[in-house]
Amino acid sequence: MSSTPIYYSKAEYIETDTGNKVSRRATISGPQNIILGGKTIICTGAIIRGDLRRVGPGHAVVISLGRYCLIGEGCVLRPPYKTYRGTFNYYPMKVGDHVHIGANSVVEAAAIGNHVEIGKNCVIGKFTMIKDCAKIADNTVIPPNTVIPALSSFSGSPGHFVEYLPESTQELVESSTKRYYNLFQPLDR
């Protein structure tokens, strides 16, 4: 709840027209296949694998992120893959608005809803579906193909349902992600 700014080095981050702040030290592969919704922060050391696209001609969106997202330091976002009817393929990953992913988490989810909080050091298995306003505690391992229902909190390894989140979770997460973005300030040295 602190109102002190979170500083970053101005030289390190690129700010886009829509307010995305992307670290130069993040690895963004296949940027033409990645959509950022605006006001999204991608921290140092994050890896976003937009290059792992579906085979076939033309343009394909691999990873799309909504607004006010945070991809923490050292996070890996990688589209899920499977062999279906004998052919290996990657599948797109869609992340909603106001999603915070803590440092060093590895995410291979198929879909993440809005207002989702994912803690530090989590592993989100392939094709996981995370519904709106869910929360994944730090150090949680979500096995592949798990569905995480709305307004529920998961933790442990394998991740289990812990509790229902309060009815005002949406407002809480929204204000905290907005606050985080506004506090994320450049420091000119």
């Binding site: 602190s2 279906y84 391992v141 569905v147 709305a150 009815e167 506004n182 040295r189």
Partner: protein
């Protein structure tokens, strides 16, 4: 939580309107974060999750997200009747794999359309598969129906059927009295399970619910019950390798790892006669989740009513306290200064300050300013007045010795009322809001920097900052020489607002002595963190 200052709100739960003393461990149950509280407009009172009455408004499977009609929930025994099974070992959700998993070993992704029968249930996490307990499936769909026969043959469900059969005549006989108990009494403290259970009990076995009510006809009915004879005798249970006995002893003799014994958690979800062997555990259908609506315990008005759709996070009715009470955040400026110094590239701005090496904690014998930021959620401005509750609340009559025992710290709060401006509709300053934030950060940084130069000297009590619907006031805490433990105190917040909530077109001009004002008071507990222990603590061991 080391020294992060925090604030919690008191819910009286239809009890004593006075909050308990803040330092007792048991007091924490009475204080809640604002976002978890509700507000009943009828009673004009705060309600919390402990005191609201909860009802189930809908069931859904947490895996396939199917919304189960409540009519079929009971027949399906509160579990998913489609394809969702839980791993008996790690409780992960199982997936269906064909009989010949690809042999390259690395890809066990769901290949649920191609493969050939028989199919297995497979756990992606612990690699258990249903072949271990001899369960195979003919086709990859409708799993629950395929496995229904297993469930029906289980001794516990047979026993349950028998029980139902046994009570059937009694139900019919007392159907008359069941109509009386159709409406279960609304309990003050009830959770979803209790609510569902009491409703179900009252419906199913009226004879029993009648007993539990200690009715007048208790003795009369008691004798009407014929004796129930269990299908399975306890003494024979051991033969089946379940409840103790020689079989289990033999099994335990041959144990090699603890994992071979099914843990309590793994057996918990089963019935009473389960095998001790982990290798015998069977997959279970996934238990359903429920959406819940909540009612005020006193007037039974609905406080929370979710939308029908299971995965919707919207609510038809949502009376949360955050929309009524001002939200308060606490901060300790001396900690903020520490944090404010950008840690990475930090070339010690204004180094030689004495505060530079303050660790995160409070020292005895010093005084600290603290800031309380009030955010007004109402469309009208409010007048807030603060009062610290005396520390020695125990006796009521403030005894002198009581006070001497208490960790001696004194709290000063602004004594006069201060205003917090009205909340403007979001669209009114959504854009402006964001600009404002940007500006504001520069502004507050600048001011903070300048302010900090003088801070330790100036009197910190009073209104510090006002903007939008926020007002920050300062308070001060003076910590005694041999104080120890956490610094926690109760604070009463009263705010006056325009009571008549007819559609006033605008609140700004009419603010001063408007038609009629109402005052609402609530208690909070503020935790400013621990007092740092001196190297050699004094020998006091009171409380």
């Amino acid at each position: 939580m080391s020294a992060t200052p925090s604030i919690r709100y008191h819910c009286q739960c239809i009890g004593d309107p006075q909050p308990p003393p803040p330092h007792l461990p048991s007091s924490s149950a009475w204080f809640h974060p604002l976002h978890s509280l509700f507000f009943c407009e009828e009673c004009d009172a705060v309600r919390c999750n402990r005191c609201v009455s909860v009802e189930v408004s809908g069931y859904y499977c947490p895996n396939c997200l199917f919304e189960v009609p409540s009519a079929s929930v009971r027949a399906e025994k509160n579990r998913c009747a489609r394809n969702c099974f839980m791993c008996p070992h790690c409780r992960n959700t199982l997936s269906v794999v064909p009989s010949d998993p690809p042999d390259d070993g690395r890809s066990h992704a769901p290949i649920n359309t191609t493969g050939e029968p028989p199919f297995y249930l497979y756990c992606n996490f612990c690699r258990w598969d249903s072949g271990e307990v001899g369960i195979t499936l003919e086709k990859p769909t409708g799993l629950a129906t395929q496995l229904q026969h297993l469930e029906d043959a289980a001794s516990d469900s047979l026993e349950f059927e028998r029980l139902k059969e046994h009570f059937e005549p009694i139900i019919r006989a007392s159907s008359l009295s069941s109509s009386q108990s159709a409406a279960p009494p609304v309990h003050m403290h009830t959770n979803s399970i209790a609510a569902a259970a009491s409703a179900a009990l009252a419906r199913d076995i009226p004879g029993i619910s009648k007993f539990s009510r200690r009715g007048k006809d208790k003795s009369k009915n008691k004798d009407e019950f014929p004796e129930y004879k269990a299908r399975l005798d306890v003494s024979t249970a051991s033969v089946r390798g379940s409840a103790g006995g020689k079989v289990d002893v033999d099994h335990m003799r041959a144990l090699e790892t603890i994992g071979q014994v099914a843990s309590l958690e793994q057996r918990w979800d089963n019935s009473w006669t389960t095998s001790l062997k982990a290798s015998d555990l069977q997959p279970l259908r996934l238990p359903l989740h429920a959406k819940r609506s909540k009612r005020c315990p006193q007037c039974t008005h609905i406080l929370i009513k979710p939308e029908q759709k299971a995965q919707s996070v919207r609510f038809k009715i949502k009376l949360v306290a955050a929309n009524y009470l001002p939200s308060i955040t606490v901060s300790l400026p001396h900690l903020d200064q520490l944090a404010a110094r950008p840690s990475d590239a930090m070339k010690r701005s204004t180094s030689g300050r004495p505060e530079a090496e303050i660790p995160t904690g409070l020292h005895p014998g010093r005084s600290y300013p603290f800031h309380l930021t009030f955010t007004n959620p109402l469309y009208d401005p409010i007048q807030v007045r603060l009062a610290a509750q005396r520390m020695h609340v125990t006796g009521g009559d403030g005894t002198e010795k009581d006070r001497s025992k208490r960790p001696p710290y004194a709290v000063s709060l602004p004594s006069s009322a201060f205003a917090v401006a009205a909340f403007a509709e979001e669209w009114e300053y959504e854009d402006e809001d964001e600009d404002m934030y940007g500006l504001d950060d520069d502004y507050s940084l600048a001011t903070r920097a300048t302010r900090d130069e003088h801070k330790p000297k100036t009197k910190a009590v009073g209104v510090i900052e006002k903007r939008a619907n926020l007002t920050t006031v300062g308070g001060e805490i003076v910590i005694g020489k041999d104080a120890h433990g956490p610094v926690k105190f109760n604070m009463m917040v009263s705010y006056a607002y325009r009571s008549d909530d007819g559609l006033q077109d605008e609140g700004g001009a009419a603010k001063a002595k408007a038609p009629e004002t109402k005052t609402f008071s609530f208690y909070t507990v503020i935790d400013l963190g621990l007092i740092m222990q001196k190297p050699a603590p004094p020998t006091e061991l009171d409380f």
